[in-house]
Amino acid sequence: MELQIIWFVLWAVLWAVYFMLDGFVLGAGMLHLFLGKNDGERRVIINTLGPVWDGNEVWLITAGGATFAAFPTTYALMFSYLYTALLLLLFALIVRGVSFEFRGKGEGDLWKRSWDTAILVSSFLPALLFGVAFGNIFAGLPMDAAGYHGSLMYLLNPYGLLTGILFVLLFLVHGTLYLSVKTVGDLSLRARAAAEKLWPALLVVAVAFLGYTKFATRLYDNFFSAPYLLIVPLLAVAALLGIRILTAKGNLLGAFASSCVTIVMVVFTGVIGLFPNLIPSNLDPAYSLTIFNSSSSPYTLKIMTLVVALFLPIVIAYKIWVYRVFRGKVTVQEVLEDKQAY
């Protein structure tokens, strides 16, 4: 297999894993103010995220680093074209990380309420912006020989916004299911009820997205030329329905797993549709950024493949270990006792 294709697959995997892992952190962050009825419960929610959020965010940094190393031209153009959107994303990620860490380190209502609001905004904004960015990448960016002709306002087109809403809802459902698994009592029940309430909205938006995609993008072309690939979007739909069925049965862990599969398959569906583009041009296909015209040299790709083959298994091993260490449920009593907790 060509190295560029290996790196395209890896690129897709890094994004998919990132959204699967940070998705529940973003979702829980958007909801902690509403699901947690008092400070104790809010702290429980934040503490379910505490040991893992930073490690989850690193998948984003690695996805960025991998894009830089493997497809430097795409990295350079994407980041400079989407300057303002990425800036807002960056600010949100900075504020979110700091909020988790600082919220519990001060006293007083104002202090806590300010950080709570910060967590809400800085979780919502990335979810929306990632969706808007990927929606626009699916649809292609207006670029030609003269460069880029878009702006932040351009990105907020109907398809971009719809994808943004899809991401927000995916992460909201993902986050509620995570919390229903990781907490006990009323809080867990509330989270489960929220998942059940949000799910129909997610279904409607997902259907609208699949329909609109036919008109706004050329993502389906690859699937029509190789129909066996349709298994991926079908799995996404099946997993989405699985969430509802498993939640109704009270199998919340299963529903969360189903939600993981949904997110991964949604990302894969989009990325398969893009192939071999990383960012298509919607003005002139000759100016699309593909894995072939924007990649690093074979030597660099070879070295990077070696590095990843060596270290990614180790990373995955200790990631699994850490999720096992923190597999239990988080309770109010536990959080109150632990002075290290957030």
Binding site: T62, G65, F68, A69, F79, L93, G147, S297, I303, Y318
Partner: protein, 447 residues
């Protein structure tokens, strides 16, 4: 101001802000790991309290270091797209390796350390903080190999309109990058050692918990002496490497205008870029600059006038930053010696004046770190990759002045606010002193 100037200003501000937190993280992680190891091996709870107290300060500092690091990665693409396109083939690799090797390890095990007091064994808990310390220092290695490549590019050819990597091993063994790494990590340890001594001095002056803070101070003093000496030794080798590979930077660091053999070091010197000479030169140590540059007294030093004006870095800031950094470096060695002497004799509290000095010396290593980076980055100008790519050719084409002005203002406001909150929290917890209630941790099980 144009996009180039604003982008440079933004990169300078965001990386200098990031670099307020990184050096302390580099050193304090190791010190906390050492404290916890002492607790695990001796069972002495004093060391556990130390690990917890200094660990809390470590975490407050660590959070901002992590989140502000992402900004730098993003900016390579956002503001320096032409750079990223041109050198991404070789420069992207160390960044990707850094994420895979170091960031994952750091982020996962810091979680174990914060939340795992009752979830993993005592030994595993101590190993976690060691893994964090190793990961942090590994991350410094990769980013400094990347920066070392910008300073002294190796292992590449210009092909297909860009710099392509042909020798990864050359990048890994680039002496410039390795010396920079060595110089940087021990500078970070110096920051941490003076941080621990400074905070301890504050408490000792108030006679708070003398047992706790005397032990902490003494640990800081030992750490400081070793680090400050290493800073000077590695720094000396680093300067030799600079003289060899970046003659314009070295000439600016010492403000040498004419090419000569056996150049002396003027203790008092004021350069004038306008007149292309030094307007003040006093108290000369003969042949000293040549000796420092090449470790031979009669070595020839290339003067700035040998290079066209368009290829010279700004001399005044580079020269003064370098001088001040070196001066501070010597001061640190002296203070570390006195600190170790007094704390070993156990007479620290009889010397309130010295404790006050150590309190006010706390920010100095931070300043020295920033000055070092001013020398490194300003001294490389007008190049972004020395001899290969000019900074002015590296800036993104797709961004506009209002965009960058907006982001610059945004960063300044956001970072300003976060910086204030961080200092507020650090001060608050530093003043509070250690927590004696260890019940939540030492309890064998919890349910």
């Amino acid at each position: 101001m144009d996009v180039l100037t604003l982008s440079r200003l933004q990169f300078a501000i965001t990386s200098m802000f990031h670099f307020i937190f990184v050096p302390l993280t580099l050193g304090l992680s190791i010190m906390v790991a050492y404290m916890e190891t002492r607790y695990v091996t001796s069972g002495n709870e004093l060391y556990l309290k130390m690990a917890k107290f200094w660990g809390k300060l470590f975490l407050i500092n660590f959070a901002l270091g992590v989140v502000t690091g992402i900004t730098l990665e993003f900016q390579f693409g956002m503001n320096w797209a032409e750079y990223s396109k041109y050198v991404g083939d070789i420069f992207g690799a160390p960044l990707a390796v850094e994420a895979t090797m170091a960031f994952f390890m750091e982020s996962v095990f810091i979680g174990v350390w914060i939340f795992g007091w009752n979830k993993v064994s005592k030994r595993m808990h101590a190993i976690s903080i060691w893994l964090v310390a190793i990961a942090t220092n590994l991350s410094a290695l990769w980013i400094l190999l990347a920066n070392g490549w910008m300073q002294h590019p190796v292992g590449f050819v210009l092909r297909n309109g860009r710099a392509e990597m042909v020798d990864f091993l050359a990048l890994l063994t680039n002496p410039y990058g390795l010396l920079k790494f060595g110089h940087q990590i021990v500078s970070g340890y110096t920051v941490a050692a003076f941080f621990v001594m400074g905070v301890s001095a504050w408490h000792l002056l108030r006679k708070n918990r003398p047992d706790f803070f005397k032990t902490s101070f003494r640990m800081g003093a030992s750490f400081a002496l070793v680090s400050t000496l290493l800073v000077a030794v590695v720094g000396d080798f680093h300067a030799v490497e600079v003289a060899k590979t970046q003659p314009t930077k070295f000439a600016a660091m010492e403000s040498v205008w004419e090419t000569k053999r056996g150049v002396g070091l003027n203790l008092l010197l004021i350069p004038s870029e306008l007149k292309e000479c030094n307007v003040v030169e006093q108290i000369c140590i003969p042949k000293m600059v040549s000796l420092l540059a090449f470790h031979t007294p009669n070595a020839e030093i290339k003067g700035l006038k040998d290079f066209p004006k368009s290829e010279r870095p700004p001399v005044t800031p580079v020269f003064f930053s370098f001088r001040l950094m070196v001066g501070l470096g010597f001061l640190f060695i002296f203070l570390a010696l006195v600190a170790l002497f007094l704390s070993r004799r156990g007479t620290l509290e009889n010397h309130p004046l010295f404790l006050k000095v150590m309190l006010f010396a706390l920010p100095l290593p931070y300043i020295a770190n920033q000055l070092g980076w001013i020398v490194a980055e300003m001294g490389r100008q007008p190049w972004i990759v020395y001899g290969v790519l000019k900074t002015s050719d590296a800036v993104s084409k797709a961004i506009s002045t209002p965009q960058v002005l907006g982001s610059l203002i945004g960063f300044t406001l956001l970072y300003g606010t976060l910086g204030c909150i961080d200092i507020f929290l650090l001060t608050k917890y530093a003043r509070k002193g250690p927590d004696d209630d260890l019940s939540a941790i030492i309890k064998p099980t919890r349910n």
